[in-house]
């Protein structure tokens, strides 16, 4: 479903990702862990075209995201091409990023009507269904500012799902929540993971969630994958000394 091939990303002199290769199978849940600044979030941002690669290619669902064919040559993708490929990718952000000038309903029907061309009725029905799924059916006409952080993040999840994405990117989605709200959001994501076949790429510091939720965990350090294993293996008997060190630090803190 997702192929990173020799991806390099620099911010000025700072090399964030170098020669990164990995693939994610359809329906797979992959969690990216690692110290901050290790490039995990950059991977999600590259997939969402919020950043562009300096070298290498990214392919999603058989279509190249970073490049396109023009006159028989591969050239960097333009806005239109990347928007087309990206339609199948949804993202949930750490800071929710709901549109405060719209109601919950407005947030949910905006992209389905404008981008997918759904009718208002279809989009409304979909919004209602998704809000029920995230347990906020009665908040459909509220403004986001009147919701708690946990509720806002649930709406953001519903908003991403309203596009029926093949790939869902979760960027530290519980990091900005009050501790008592984290479990509910994680439970919701777990249920979504169980009940759909969406490919999910997740950056999180919640190791318990990573262990239960993922099929695979990738440990990042210095812009590269230093360990890639099922959670049962990676969390209980990691191979790489940096992984051990990182897990120890994270678990001690928790």
């Amino acid at each position: 479903m997702i192929i990173f091939d020799g991806v390099e990303k620099r911010f000025g002199e700072n090399v964030v990702l170098s020669g990164l290769d990995f693939t994610v199978a359809p329906g797979e849940h992959v969690t990216l862990i690692g110290p901050s600044g290790s490039g995990k979030t950059t991977i999600l941002r590259l997939l969402m075209c919020l950043e562009s690669v300096n070298a290498g290619t990214i392919t999603v669902g058989g279509r190249c995201l970073t490049h396109m064919e023009k006159n028989g040559r591969q050239v960097p993708a333009d806005e239109k091409h990347s928007r087309e490929v990206r339609k199948r990718i949804g993202m949930v952000f750490q800071q929710f990023n709901l549109f405060p000038n719209m109601t919950v309903r407005g947030n949910l029907i905006e992209a389905p009507t404008r981008v997918l061309g759904l009718s208002k009725d279809e989009a409304n029905a979909r919004a209602k269904e998704l809000l029920d799924l995230v347990g906020l059916g009665e908040k459909i006409d509220e403004h986001p500012s009147r919701l708690s952080g946990g509720q806002q993040q649930r709406v953001a999840i519903a908003r991403a799902l309203a596009m029926r994405p093949d790939v869902l990117l979760l960027d530290e989605v519980t990091s900005a929540l009050d501790p008592e709200l984290v479990a509910g959001v994680l439970k919701l994501l777990h249920d979504i993971g169980e009940s759909t076949d969406i490919t999910i790429l997740c950056v999180t510091h919640e190791m318990g969630f990573a262990r239960d939720f993922s099929h695979r965990v990738m440990m990042f350090d210095g812009g590269q994958v230093i360990e890639d294993a099922p959670p049962s293996k990676l969390f209980s008997e990691p191979d790489h000394p940096r992984t051990k060190e990182f897990l120890k630090a994270v678990l001690d803190r928790g």
Binding site: M91, N97, F99, N101
Partner: protein, 216 residues
């Protein structure tokens, strides 16, 4: 000389006629300044060469007096065949001049929209035009309404400048009437009081708006 109440009562309706012209000029000038300012603000975010040219234009207009711009439009443009009636010259001059200020007001409002909003809109694949009209501007504009309001008030107070090209706004009428009866006390005093009667409540309104929306 001294104050003559009956003369004051006579000129009052004439001054009100002038006030209508002043208000028309302010409203039309504001509409021009609001829309042109928005265009300039968007161009400032465009490709670098465009932004540089627009910034140059803005600085040029701001660094020259409004009166010189009015004279330029009214007396110089006809030399190259562009003849604009005085009234519309006034509207264009006010709109153009103030657009260079509202442009930066909009810019500040747009900059204050969090990056996450752009990113969420991108993540939903919204087309660029919709990101502006559906997400960014509806958040940016309410925040800058007080600042725009302040420019409307100062434009209102600057319209009398247009008597220089013969527009009979409130001050123009006051000068005419005063000149006719060789008594300027009443017309200018009333004109001043009328400005005060409108500007002061308007500025209170803007201040209330500021408290409501916060400032950028």
């Amino acid at each position: 000389m001294g104050w003559n109440w009956s003369f004051a009562a006579d000129v009052f309706p004439i001054l009100l006629q002038g006030l209508v012209v002043t208000l028309q000029l302010t409203v039309l000038g504001s509409l021009a300044a609001f829309s042109l300012g928005l265009v300039l603000a968007l161009l400032l975010r465009g490709p670098r060469p465009v932004a540089v040219v627009v910034r140059g234009f803005i600085e040029f207009v701001r660094s020259t007096p409004l009166l010189v711009q009015v004279f330029f439009l009214f007396y110089v443009l006809p030399d190259i065949g562009i003849l604009i009636p005085a009234y519309w010259t006034g509207v264009i001059a006010l709109g153009l001049h103030y657009a260079t200020y509202t442009a930066d007001v909009y810019r500040a409002g747009i900059d204050a929209v969090p990056r996450g909003q752009w990113e969420a809109a991108t993540a939903l694949s919204l087309p660029r035009s919709r990101v502006w009209t559906g997400v960014v501007l509806p958040q940016a504009i309410p925040r800058v309404l007080p600042a725009l309001g302040n420019y409307v008030i100062s434009m209102f107070k600057e319209t009398p400048l247009l008597i220089a090209i013969g527009i009979l706004d409130i001050v123009g009428q006051a000068r005419e009437e005063g000149g006719r009866f060789f008594s300027y006390d009443e017309p200018y005093t009333i004109a001043g009081l009328l400005f005060l009667a409108l500007s002061y409540p308007a500025s209170l309104l803007v201040r209330r708006l500021e408290r409501r929306v916060g400032t950028v």
